[in-house]
């Protein structure tokens, strides 16, 4: 089987090209995404407007109208993929996402559906400070009626994007800067990867480490450290935050008896709390240690490099926490 080495964003680009070619109902819109404007802030939409013409629209800086128009077109039978340049700007469109995209199917008694994808970039580590780097997956995962996807590998970026576009319900697709610079081989015929299914990155027996997005990349940077500490870590990339793969996580937790959850979002009230609570409910008495969580402190993403480095959960923090779980 032939493969191509690519970055995460090239995976998204390949998925968009493929989906637009396969289904003329797929539309793409967002700020600066047409080719004259550069194909989007990361270039994920490059080539689309040249190839698919007015199915691809650069928009004004009007997030509420972007998501609203996507929802409206979706109710009328199209499959819009909207880019909200950065995740913090989804807050400007929160009413459209939370009150409309997520609820229209239910409130209309199943008459309407909103098969949109909202692609959005985020991630700390680039000193973009308090209004440009938040990981808000917990906000969206808290809503019923919406799926939240946050891949870490180029193959998953492609396969999960294909699934999100095909999915009959609204999906938030989080592209985190921390996942973007590690190219890997992707099958040329990489197809859709099911939503709601985790990926076991490395099998292990002592500690289950649940991560996603940028923290799965940082966890992989810690693998050597775990090995040096003599701890066998089972690393899980959750891939979909909502609905999450309880089966895989619980099976692993039962096997190892020790669980660490690490995410880039703020720790307090973050998605890790939901996962930890579920593990406690399901496996109480079978655990060898309390479930531990690592996440950002409860403060806005800081600008200064030193502060930002301390804000982000680093591989060394994971190694320390894993050792702590063993002692």
């Amino acid at each position: 089987m032939s493969t191509t080495k690519m970055h995460a964003i090239q995976g998204v680009n390949a998925a968009l090209h493929q989906a637009m070619a396969e289904d003329e109902k797929v539309l793409v819109l967002g700020e600066d995404i047409a080719d004259p404007e550069g194909g989007g802030i990361t270039g994920a939409a490059q080539g689309l407007s040249t190839k698919f013409g007015d199915r691809v629209r650069s928009t004004p800086i009007s997030e509420q109208a972007i998501v609203g128009a996507a929802i409206g077109a979706a109710m009328a039978g199209y499959k819009p993929v909207a880019e909200i340049m950065l995740m913090n700007f989804t807050t400007v469109a929160m009413d459209m996402i939370f009150n409309h995209a997520a609820k229209l199917r239910f409130m209309s008694g199943g008459q309407t559906s909103v098969p949109i994808v909202i692609r959005t970039l985020t991630g700390a580590g680039w000193q973009t400070a308090g209004q440009h780097a938040d990981h808000l997956e917990g906000w969206f995962a808290h809503a019923a009626g919406i799926k939240v996807v946050a891949p870490s590998s180029p193959a998953d970026y492609k396969g999960l994007m294909l699934s999100c576009i095909q999915d009959p319900d609204p999906c938030i697709f989080i592209e985190s800067a921390g996942t973007m610079f590690i190219p890997s081989e992707v099958d040329d015929d990489q197809g859709p990867i099911p939503l709601g299914k985790a990926r076991i990155v490395q099998e292990g027996t002592d500690v289950t480490l649940v991560t996603w997005s940028s923290q799965c990349i940082r966890a992989q940077m810690a693998l050597e450290g775990f090995a040096e500490a003599g701890v066998s870590v089972e690393l899980i990339d959750l891939r979909t935050i909502s609905p999450w793969d309880r089966e895989t996580v619980l099976a692993s937790a039962q096997k190892t008896g020790r669980v660490l959850i690490a995410h880039e979002a703020v720790r307090d009230f973050g998605p890790g709390a939901e996962i930890a609570a579920t593990i406690n409910e399901e496996l109480f008495g079978k655990l060898k240690a309390p479930v531990r969580r690592l996440g950002a402190p409860k403060c806005p993403v800081p600008f200064a490099k030193a502060l930002e480095d301390a804000y982000i959960v680093q591989p060394a923090d994971m190694i320390a926490a894993v050792k702590g779980l063993m002692s």
């Binding site: 600066d32 650069s58 800086i61 009007s62 913090n88 400070a129 600008f303 030193a306 301390a310």
Partner: protein, 370 residues
């Protein structure tokens, strides 16, 4: 007899061919001397009749911004500044012209992320601005906000905001405070041509006119919003008309001419201080550099930028006028030298002062640390 005031009389709008058309590419010819006003505007602004000292001060301030930003660009290239860094080069005449007209003890200012120039035009110490850019404890926001989030509440400068358009409703609140306190002050709220397409801007317009708030909506139309040119994103690209359905008058001036921006500011301030409600000032300007430091700028030609620099540069234009007025070139050179010194001191300070303590993650989040 209906007593609804008819603000928008159906008088001819005084359009000049070429000026008012949508869709033409930016060019310096379209900027110079072109002033347009809506029919309900309080008048046509005049070029400001500056004294020799005032002109020198404008020159000094614009040059300070220019050299400061060039230095920031260099420090960025050296890795001493990180994150998004939006330079103000080319737009100096806007902040300097407008802010020089304010009452520094009274009026308030708010803007977006392209905020270094506005801070400098306020006479704030370049050292603490540069130290914010390098993320140091001595920075004006203690290194917590960075390039996009500068604040000086002491000077009633309320940021430095990263969500496009958000400063406009915030500015209405500042103006509300002026009016409610009855302090006679006004708010100057800057935003871009791209920000003018945010819905919240229009919510703020309506409220500001409804409550007759003393606010100047200053649209810095630098012709681009990141990679999108104004006429590819705006159904009405004559930004000074954007308040018409709210009965907010508008004025469009050459934003590359500091005497024009100052003149427009005088008229606008008189209007808002007179209890007449808000006004829109559209300053037609141009940014020479990329949107931020990481912009390959493929959406416009080099020639376009070159033409603007050669024909419209706000600093060169003022300099030419001053020399024509008999000012000695040596004098201006002296200013240039002095400013290079100030900027290099600011850079030294910003490079050598300490980084914030890690405990700062937990302070200023709420009043108490936790």
């Amino acid at each position: 007899m209906a007593k609804t005031p008819q603000k928008n009389q159906a008088a001819p709008s005084g359009k000049t061919a070429g000026q008012d058309d949508k869709g033409s590419a930016p060019s310096s010819d379209r900027l110079h001397g072109h002033t347009q006003v809506t029919d309900d505007a309080p008048g046509k602004p005049e070029l400001y009749d500056a004294s020799e000292d005032e002109m020198l001060e404008f020159y000094r301030q614009m040059l300070l911004i220019r050299r400061f930003e060039e230095k920031a660009g260099q420090l960025y290239g050296l890795g001493l500044i990180g994150g998004f860094c939006h330079l103000y080069i080319g737009q100096e005449a806007v902040a300097v012209g407008l802010q020089s007209a304010l009452n520094g003890d009274l009026d308030s200012v708010i803007t977006g992320y392209r905020d270094h120039g506005h801070m400098l035009a306020y006479g704030l110490d370049p050292k603490v601005i540069m130290a914010e850019l390098t993320g140091r404890q001595a920075g004006i926001s203690k290194g917590k906000g960075g390039s996009m989030h500068m604040f000086s509440v002491e000077h009633r400068f309320y940021g430095g905001h990263g969500i496009v358009g958000a400063q406009v409703p915030l500015g209405s609140g500042l103006a509300f405070a002026h009016k409610y306190r009855g302090d006679g002050g006004a708010c100057l709220a800057y935003f871009g041509d791209g920000a003018a397409n945010q819905g919240q801007v229009y919510e703020a317009f309506n409220m500001a006119e409804l409550w007759k708030l003393p606010i100047i909506f200053a649209i810095e139309n630098n012709q681009y919003a990141m990679g999108t040119s104004v006429n590819r994103s705006s159904a009405e690209d004559q930004m000074f008309r954007r308040g018409q359905s709210f009965r907010i008058p508008g004025i469009q001036v050459d934003g590359m001419d500091v005497l024009a921006t100052r003149g427009a500011a005088e008229l606008a301030l008189e209007h808002v201080r007179g209890g007449n409600g808000p006004i829109i000032l559209e300053l037609k300007t141009y940014r020479y550099r990329g949107h931020s430091m990481s912009d390959p700028a493929k959406y416009r030609s080099r020639e376009e930028v070159q033409e603007m620099r050669e024909k419209s540069d706000p600093i060169e234009r003022l300099k030419a006028k001053m020399i024509a007025d008999g000012h000695s070139e040596d004098d201006l050179k002296k200013i240039d030298k002095e400013i290079r010194g100030i900027v290099s001191d600011a850079a030294d300070f910003a490079e050598s002062s300490p980084e914030p303590d890690l405990d700062e993650l937990h302070t200023d989040v709420l009043v108490e640390s936790y």
